[in-house]
């Protein structure tokens, strides 16, 4: 599966769990991390108990780790 396909699959998995408007980038020296940027309103849910099951769904797209970007909305990288 190419990196682009993994991104689309990860964003679909997030939408399937009700997380809309998320963007995913590939990070890590082995390209093993899904770096997820979500609107601030979704932070509380992802940092709560739902976060683990959502991460599992995103990992199924081909990532070893799923992590939220701490940069504020609109910030670069």
């Amino acid at each position: 599966m190419s990196a682009d396909e993994r991104i689309a699959a990860a964003e679909r998995a997030l939408a399937d769990h009700g997380v809309y408007g998320a963007t995913v980038e590939v990070e890590g020296h082995q390209r093993e991390i899904a770096a997820v940027h979500v609107p601030s309103d979704d932070w509380e849910r992802l940092m709560g108990p739902d976060g683990v099951s959502i991460a599992d769904a995103v990992k199924a797209a081909g990532f070893r780790y799923v992590a939220l970007d701490l940069a504020p909305a609109g910030a670069d990288g």
């Binding site: 020296h29 992802l46 683990v52 939220l68 701490l70």
Partner: protein, 277 residues
């Protein structure tokens, strides 16, 4: 609660060792072992030795020194040079073997110089089954593991440490800073400094059980599930502090901190388990 049988077994093993040098990191296990060894053997037959290197967090070194002073444990610090070994710096999945080989070789020399008979480590019964290539180096240097031999678990060591008044009784596990780098990403003093600076910033915010994983330019924070909700509260401060440590992007792992997360990508054939040497 620790059974009488296990207590007596540990004391018996220590008496068997006669006089000891203990690999003393300042963590829960080695502090406990050193304290009990002093009780059983007397201070003149015990020397706790801390290996000083860039891969050891400065707060661990401070804990090691302070506890030794406060509890009458004879203490020595020796510089270790694992970073000079290219096999270690390349960060293979058996990196710990090269580090521990350097440590145990140095401690064996210290034991010989001080006329002390046995070198000990703080491995415990819960370490069996973990990926521990360093255990091979311990075995090669005839290092004994009294806590493991006595069957003491981490929970029992914490409970007994509490009884003894040791401040480390509830200290979170704190392996070396190189454990924050995924295998294959070379270990450098600069990368270890970045990890330490970022972790000190989180510690200053009151986080206790977490890791800053180094992925090149990216920091991936693993925070214990019990504390992860606090990340949102301190989001801007954490972001700024970790960037200041030299990373260009800061991520927080949705699954939180779990022991040995960087071993998740290893194939079964790469795992070296304690108890299966």
């Amino acid at each position: 609660m620790v059974s009488r049988e296990k207590r007596e077994r540990l004391e018996s093993i220590l008496r068997e060792c006669e006089s000891v040098v203990i690999g003393y990191s300042g963590g829960v296990d080695s502090v406990f072992l050193a304290r009990v060894a002093v009780d059983v053997l007397g201070a003149d037959r015990v020397l706790a030795v801390t290996g000083k290197s860039d891969s050891i967090a400065s707060w661990m070194e401070d804990t090691a020194r302070d506890v030794a002073r406060d509890f009458g444990i004879p203490w020595l610090e020796v510089e270790t040079r694992e970073m000079d070994d290219p096999r270690y710096a390349a960060n293979p999945s058996n990196r710990c073997y090269f580090c521990k080989s350097e440590l145990w070789t140095r401690l064996s020399t210290v034991a010989h110089e001080h006329g002390l008979k046995t070198v000990l480590d703080g491995s415990n019964a819960d370490d069996v089954g973990d990926h521990r290539p360093g255990a091979v180096a311990a075995s090669e240097n005839a290092v004994r593991s009294p806590l493991l031999e006595a069957g003491l678990t981490k929970a029992e060591i914490r409970a007994w440490s509490h009884e003894l008044g040791l401040p480390t009784w509830d200290q979170p596990a704190a392996p070396c800073l190189a454990s924050r780098l995924p295998y294959g990403l070379s270990v450098t003093p600069e990368r270890l400094r970045q990890v330490e600076d970022a972790e000190l910033a989180l510690r200053a915010l009151g986080f206790r059980d977490f890791r800053v994983r180094h992925h090149g330019d990216v920091a991936r924070l693993e925070v214990h599930p019990a504390e992860i909700h606090r990340v949102a509260e301190h989001r801007a401060t954490i972001h700024a502090a970790v960037l200041e440590a030299g990373f260009t992007r800061v991520l927080v792992d949705l699954q939180g901190y779990r022991r040995g997360a960087l071993n998740e990508g290893l194939a079964a054939g790469q795992l070296v388990q304690l108890g299966g040497r």
